[in-house]
Assembly symmetry: C2
Homo-oligomer: 148 residues x 2
């Protein structure tokens, strides 16, 4: 069952990222109704191309659980994960992936390399696209409009 | 021009990783003859699926340079990068990628999704495969033989 409440938390993280001048993407990891991690994109702040919301959330949740594998945990993220994040999601053994807006230019789930359908992907989550995608897209469009 | 010296450093990092009980992969980042970063795999130690040698080296080099983009820098890594690392290499704008052993099961450069050839890849390094690959492969085989 999809809880929009968790995607709302992810959208909050995306909005907070925009406030920091970051591309507005947010992510939340949940297990057994408990929020294990919430993070927004911090690539600029950290000078770190790997500091996408999903990667930060995966690292945070793993630290919390003391386990690199996030068995039975679900990820909510406002934008379709990129190739780097899709592979990290697979490595972390996340159970479900709920995402907002599709990203034809850089995504890797329903776009691009469709990593979870590839033979070099050794664990695929259940995938729920298009969750609150209009809100996620509005945030991104607003951010890039202001940048111009 | 290929300097095997840098790949030797990467192999040293891979050996050190094996000593720590980690899958033996090592990486070095070089710019203008200067080693910006050297790292071995630490996924177990850090409980972090993203702590591959390449990711740690990219983050280290970016911190050193104070820039998330590693323009004109080259990466030496003992194993073909996976899907996650290939995308991170692209995001970091690394100039050249030298790698050792091919990884048909999990690689993403000459194997798997061949990320650098995909339309959702927006920067591709020059690619030099098969550098000291026998040494890299011996290390990996030795490690997994002992595990069994």
């Amino acid at each position: 069952m999809i809880s929009n409440g968790y995607m709302d938390l992810a959208l909050e993280e995306a909005r907070a990222a925009a406030t920091r001048g970051e591309v507005p993407v947010g992510a939340v990891i949940v297990r057994d109704g408990l929020v294990l991690a919430r993070a927004g994109n911090r690539t600029r702040e950290f000078n770190d191309v790997t500091a996408h919301a999903e990667i930060l959330a995966i690292r945070q949740a793993a630290e919390k659980l003391g386990s690199e594998r996030l068995i039975d945990a679900d990820l909510y993220v406002t934008l379709e994960p990129c190739t780097m994040c899709a592979a990290a999601i697979s490595f972390a053994r996340l159970r479900r992936l709920y995402f907002g807006a599709e990203d034809e230019k850089g995504g890797a789930v329903t776009s691009g390399v469709r990593f979870f359908n590839q033979p070099t992907c050794h664990h695929a989550p259940e995938i729920y696209p298009d969750i609150a995608s209009a809100d996620a897209m509005d945030l991104l469009k607003g951010f890039f409009r202001e940048k111009r």
